[in-house]
């Protein structure tokens, strides 16, 4: 699958204590996919490249009067171009185009490449109860290991982007691997390789962030998009897929991209703090009954044999 020398593991799902193999052993740069939504032409070459490289079986798609291949990603369709029609004001702010309402701004057709965001703090990995079913590499890629997956689908509820998809036949969950097999060999992901406009770029997080910020500045200063910016949400400590948006204050318009993605609190406070505490308390219960027997003894049916002496308290 991957070259262990180039993909060092940072964290493993449901892995109790102990050292994570390879952690911190080598210096690794964080990788990042950058999508500039302002230069995408919606050709879907990335979709095709993804299906092809990963050898995913293709199924019939749904046609619902849009250019979009299907409503949501599937277990065998890991990345999806989302097509949306919105309006723009003169200063470049975006707002929704509601059916039946009169159009007041300039019509815009916007595209977003939707797939796993490879969060720095992955909700799927936090939610997963199976040891090693989800790993996060030092380079930021979050990868599902289907061999260890138990098919409980808690990752589905832990993900703020609704990305992991369950396969009913294999009872495993699948999603974008950020082409960890290619990246491990020093290649760029398949979607990046296929992009004809250069709206998709791949490199280190630092470098991509720099390019994205420059592009956003250019959009603000020279193209009239006064609210252009980079989407890299702090609420999950940043992602390893970042976007340049025409209007960074309205990410929801890009096919439901959340402004502040959040991991459900049960997978943080409850799972990592209160649950172990609850379990420890129950173990105290076992000790409790053992020491109750030792210090107070059983209740015997009466009458019991005559008592010779009763000793109270410690002696």
């Amino acid at each position: 699958m991957f070259d262990e020398k180039t993909l060092q593991i940072r964290s493993i799902s449901a892995h109790p204590g102990g050292a994570i193999p390879g952690k911190g052993a080598q210096r690794t740069l964080e990788v990042c996919k950058l999508m500039d939504t302002t230069t995408c032409i919606g050709c879907k070459a990335c979709e095709v490249a993804c299906v092809e490289w990963n050898d995913l079986p293709f199924e019939t798609t749904t046609f619902d009067n849009t250019y979009q291949t299907m409503p949501d990603p599937r277990w065998n369709f890991w990345q999806l171009m989302r097509f949306n029609e919105v309006q723009r004001t003169d200063d470049g702010s975006l707002f929704a185009l509601k059916p039946g309402e009169e159009q007041t701004g300039t019509l815009m057709w916007i595209f977003r490449k939707d797939q796993c965001m490879h969060c720095a703090d992955p909700g799927c990995l936090r939610a997963c109860p199976a040891d090693g079913a989800i790993v996060q590499y030092e380079n930021g890629i979050v990868d599902f290991q289907q061999d260890n997956c138990i098919g409980c689908q808690l990752c589905v509820s832990g993900c703020p982007f609704n990305i992991p998809k369950f396969n009913q036949t294999t009872k495993k969950v699948y999603k974008c691997t950020l082409c960890s097999d290619r990246v491990g060999q020093g290649l760029e992901p398949a979607c990046i390789k296929a992009c004809p406009t250069g709206c998709l770029q791949f490199g280190t997080k630092e470098e991509m962030k720099h390019i994205a910020e420059n592009r956003a500045q250019q959009l603000r200063e020279h193209y009239g998009f006064s609210k252009a910016g980079v989407w890299d949400p702090e609420s999950v400590n940043g992602t390893h897929v970042i976007y340049v948006l025409h209007d960074v204050t309205q990410p929801e318009l890009y096919g439901g991209l959340p402004a502040k993605p959040r991991i459900p609190v049960v997978y943080t406070a409850w799972k990592y703090f209160l649950k172990p505490l609850g379990l420890a308390t129950t173990i105290l219960g076992v000790l409790g009954v053992v020491f109750h027997y030792v210090s107070y003894g059983p209740k015997r049916p009466q009458p019991e044999p005559p008592q010779k002496e009763e000793i109270r308290g410690q002696r």
């Binding site: 040891d131 459900p264 076992v286 409790g288």
Partner: protein, 245 residues
């Protein structure tokens, strides 16, 4: 003392002639065959659901418990079915004990003296303690309520595709919480049913208890079933045992 000859056979009226309970001299029938079978069905399915569930409860238990069921994927596959089996058994137990487990003023009285019960201050239970004391009733109703919580949250967790992600993570919390409460009660239940009260375990396997056990731990129930006075019978037994008591 106790004769080896069975003196009285309890007609197997419950559950249409299945099984047999023999009550010897100086014994009282406590749990009929039907009750015992249902109890152990609940117990077995409960333990299976509990152990397979705790495999997924904490990463610290996963490696220990998942192999018992053939690994993680199989544990996940079986757990909901163990749960369903447990709930079906619980329905029968509920039908069986619904009336006798009814909460009353005497149970509130019993709870006020919980401290002296735990520290064994009094050797004999008060006259008002019937077939089940307040502690046993609390355990029973905790099981019933937790069962309902398990059913609702379990189905939401089982089929997240149908009910959505929010329903799944909220259920995750309540499913866990109910499991912790059940585990706590389970530990106490086993202790009280075995080591803490000698002579109790046999009531759930062969169905009977000694008269001494009955008038000591459940005097109200002793009066009800035998029609005799528990305190007087106990005093008589003490006299029989001789001086020094």
């Amino acid at each position: 003392m106790a004769s080896a000859e069975p003196l009285r056979r309890v007609p197997p009226t419950e559950h249409g002639g299945f099984g047999r309970t023999v009550v010897y001299e100086r014994e009282v029938l406590r749990h009929g065959v039907g009750t015992r079978v249902v109890h152990w069905l609940v117990a077995i399915t409960f333990v299976l659901a509990l152990v397979s569930g705790f495999a997924m409860f904490s990463p610290w238990l996963y490696m220990w418990l998942a192999p018992l069921f053939g690994g993680g994927p199989l544990t996940r596959l079986l757990h909901p079915w163990f749960g369903i089996a447990f709930l079906i058994a619980m329905v029968f137990l509920l039908r069986n004990w619904r009336d006798v487990m009814r909460w009353g003023a005497d149970d509130r009285r019993w709870l006020r003296r919980l401290r002296s019960y735990v520290t064994n201050e009094e050797k004999v239970e008060p006259e008002y303690v019937g077939k089940f004391n307040a502690g046993q009733k609390i355990w029973f109703w905790t099981m019933v309520i937790s069962g309902v919580v398990f059913l609702v949250t379990g189905i939401l967790l089982w089929l997240p595709g149908a009910f959505g992600r929010t329903a799944a993570w909220i259920s995750y919390f309540f499913h866990d919480l109910a499991a912790l409460v059940m585990l706590g009660g389970f530990i106490i239940h086993i202790y009280e049913g075995t080591a803490a009260m000698p002579g109790t375990f046999r009531s759930m396997v062969r169905g009977t208890v000694t008269e001494e056990w009955a008038w000591t731990h459940h005097p109200g129930w002793y009066r009800e079933t035998t029609g005799r006075d528990p305190a007087a019978d106990r005093a008589a037994a003490e006299r029989e045992q001789g001086p020094g008591a």
